[in-house]
């Protein structure tokens, strides 16, 4: 039996899933048989973005409560930038890598793959970076 894939979801995917029900992000967030994670920092930033984009708070809260598990990063964003600088091209994305490691996931799903050093993340951490569509395609191959 194939083990349940574990997935850290970047905030752009969370927000995309709330803006369109026809998109790959929505399909991903509503997949069964996968375990989805975010971190306390990505929860905070995606909450702020949802607010800025006028996504109803109850819609956001409902998704987070029902569909994702949360891991709590103890370091500050500044500490995370120093610790994980070798895994990202944009230092502001370091907490996403940190969250993925803490959650011990197999996959990091983002629409912003270009800002992650995907080969290094795969080699050093054993985490595969994919877009939502690519991950859904992978699920079909199981």
């Amino acid at each position: 039996m194939t083990p349940t894939p574990t997935v850290f979801v970047d905030s752009d995917v969370i927000i995309s899933s709330l803006l369109s029900q026809a998109g790959a992000a929505y399909l991903l967030l509503h997949q069964k048989n996968i375990k989805l994670f975010i971190s306390n920092l990505s929860l905070r930033e995606s909450g702020m973005v949802a607010d800025k984009l006028n996504i109803p708070k109850d819609k956001f809260d409902n998704l987070v409560q029902k569909r994702v598990h949360m891991v709590k990063l103890k370091e500050t964003p500044k500490e995370l930038k120093i610790k994980y600088k070798n895994y990202v091209l944009d230092l502001n994305d370091a907490h996403i890598v940190a969250g993925s490691i803490l959650a011990k996931v197999n996959f990091l799903i983002s629409y912003n793959i270009r800002d992650f050093k995907v080969d290094k993340i795969k080699t050093d951490l054993g985490i595969i970076c994919l877009t939502p569509g690519e991950f859904l395609q992978y699920l079909r191959s199981l």
């Binding site: 752009d12 569509g133 079909r140």
Partner: protein, 87 residues
């Protein structure tokens, strides 16, 4: 490549070459509905959308779902980038 606007069609033989399959396998896939083809008289023609995976790495429905998200991605990334710089 915009698959929804691509008007090209392929013969089963061309598809066999593209997918590195035998012609027989392509006909089997057509008869099982895994490759959607149009029968024109005695021959088949296969639209580009049926070959989405070959061109995009995604099945056609996932390709469309990906495209749907990308319509709003610009504003999401801009807002997110601003928030992240404040964390």
């Amino acid at each position: 490549m915009n698959l929804t606007q691509d008007q090209r069609v392929y013969t089963p033989e061309q598809v066999a070459n593209l997918l590195q399959l035998s012609k027989k396998t392509v006909y089997d896939l057509i008869s099982r509905g895994e490759i959607i083809a149009k029968r024109v008289g005695k021959v088949y023609r296969i639209p580009t959308s049926s070959l989405s995976f070959v061109f995009t790495g995604l099945d056609f429905d996932l390709y469309q779902a990906d495209k749907e998200d990308r319509k709003q991605l610009g504003k999401i990334e801009r807002a997110l980038s601003k928030m992240r710089s404040k964390l």
